[in-house]
Amino acid sequence: MIFSQLVINAIIAGSFYALVAIGFSLIYKTARFFHFAHGSVYTVAAYLCYLCFSLWHLPLLIAFAAAIVGCIVLGVLCELLIYRPLRGRGAGSLELAIASLGIFIILQNTLSLLFGEETKTLFSVEVKEGMMLFGAKITSTQIAIIASALFVLFCGFILLKHTRIGIQLRAVANDPTLAVISGIDRNTVVMMSFALGSGLVAIPSLLLFTEIDVTPTIGLNIFMMSVVVMIIGGIDSIPGVYLGAMFLSFVQTFGTYFSSSKWQEAIAFCLLLLFLLFRPQGFLGRKAGKITL
């Protein structure tokens, strides 16, 4: 029984990681830098939903939609106002990452300023008894997380393989210069990936927010997990992200079962270091230029 519960927990966590990391990885593919503010976009989604639903008493679905739209706008604004001018003057990936770090700090503290540091919940205390599945407990939210991860994985796969924008996206990811020569507008593609990635990260945020409270400071954790998943999975493919997320969550779940849950972060980052040193292209990736001389 405990074994199947562990497996289910790992699948839930893995699906959540995958949902968070897919958007991050889409952005990294085209823009080629670590978008720290991805973590704060996640947090902003939850707070927008809280604002609309709990403070303005709008219907839940409208609150969700507002949050997703808000995240897309935020992602695109970051790109248009800050990253694009930086790229325009030929800034490198580290400079972009530092600017992104600045945005991350601004957003997190603006949320604390507006809403306070204390935790916020969507629904007042209401302990949901999970249903049983293969002898393990699972709640409807958790099923929704698993399902939407699979759905996003599927859609992302179709999008990248078979649509015009997907092909352009892969072209820019593969070789920006060649893509530009072929008549693809790199800026538009990067902007699209910011819109997509930022919209996608709202989904796990909102789903989880129906069960678990948020604070302004969770963004850093979300960013860290996105990085770990992306590097373990390899930046080249969407199935890689899913695989990386599942691998991370299984190692974490079973690792913490045999030690203690407080070592969760340390386990994730030891795994990251091992991958960076010995398989930096991840599970399903090709060799990237960032490694060795």
Partner: protein
């Protein structure tokens, strides 16, 4: 409004004490940012693990002073050695990975170090921290007045500046800059790039350990929250805003970043609001400098290479 937020720092400490406190903090951050500048500004190895080195220094000193009652100079010696060893460990991945991937590797070391400080409760005290660290004393002579401790911090800051200055002005420093500008070129001149990279990490981390020792003995209570990722980011922003690749830049950066937000205290804002506004100010400065002056106030390097793709 004014009555509600309690006493101003003036009333609490007295003007002199308060100013000395700020000066001591500035001194500690000068040591931290100068040592990070050696790695990030001169060698081009941006590291998010600096708070980890700082923390290891502080914890080594605190544990030695509390458990073994060892004298200050021995604490500093051991702290420098152990932080330097951690620096060796963090520097090693730089031989295989570079640019933002390397930054992420240092990030991993920072998170793991914090996790150990926070979770190894029997040894480090965990989230409860280590209270009651004794003040600095030399052979029974306790340096308790604040201004004496300030002189000690000043002495160390000047020493660190001198050592760093000698280092970067020497042939060693020129090799570091060559690595920063073009690693392959430096290697083609017969320089052992790996050796230099790891060595500068050991030196930088060891110096950061000194700052940790001073901090532990000054505040007399340490807990892991002083050595988080955010602390690393704060030290990075000092280096970036002051100017990477210029030692005076780090000094000016530390003065600006520590002293400027103190002005917010006197506007009469509640403490929580002031703390958030200070952070927003740091963030905005980072973005603004990246957009308008990526090399910082006095710097000569802007993390710009190795970029676009």
């Amino acid at each position: 409004m004014a009555a509600k937020q309690g006493k101003s720092p003036f009333e609490l400490l007295g003007l002199m004490e308060y100013l000395l406190h700020i000066l001591i903090l500035i001194g500690i951050y000068v040591i931290l940012s100068v040592s990070l500048n050696l790695l990030a500004g001169y060698t081009g190895l941006l590291s998010i693990a600096h708070a980890a080195f700082y923390g290891v220094g502080a914890y080594v000193a605190a544990l030695l002073a509390l458990r073994l009652h060892s004298p200050f100079l021995i604490n500093i010696f051991c702290a420098v050695i152990l932080s330097g060893l951690l620096g060796l460990l963090v520097g090693l991945p730089s031989l295989r990975i570079r640019d933002d991937y390397f930054v992420i590797a240092t990030f991993a070391f920072q998170v793991i170090t914090f996790s150990v400080l926070n979770n190894w409760v029997s040894f480090t005290g965990g989230p409860m921290g280590l209270p009651g660290i004794p003040p600095v004393s030399f052979g029974g002579l306790v340096l308790s007045p604040k201004w004496v401790f300030f002189l000690l911090v000043l002495l160390f800051a000047v020493l660190v500046l001198l050592i760093s200055w000698r280092l970067v002005a020497s042939p060693f420093g020129r090799v570091l800059k060559a690595i920063r500008e073009d690693e392959v070129f430096a290697a083609s001149l017969g320089k052992d790039v790996s050796y230099y990279k790891v060595l500068v990490f050991v030196v930088g981390a060891g110096i950061a350990g000194i700052a940790g020792v001073l901090y532990a003995h000054y505040i007399s209570f340490i807990d892991p929250t002083s050595f988080t990722v955010m602390e690393s980011i704060f030290i990075i922003s000092i280096v970036i805003i002051g100017g990477a690749g210029n030692l005076w830049g780090s000094v000016i950066g530390a003065v600006v970043m520590v002293a400027l937000p103190e002005l917010l205290r006197f506007v009469g804002l509640p403490n929580v609001v002031a703390a958030n506004l200070r952070q927003i100010l740091y963030g905005a400065l980072l973005v603004a400098f990246m957009m308008a002056r990526p090399q910082g106030l006095l710097g000569e390097y802007s993390f710009g290479k190795g970029g676009g793709r």
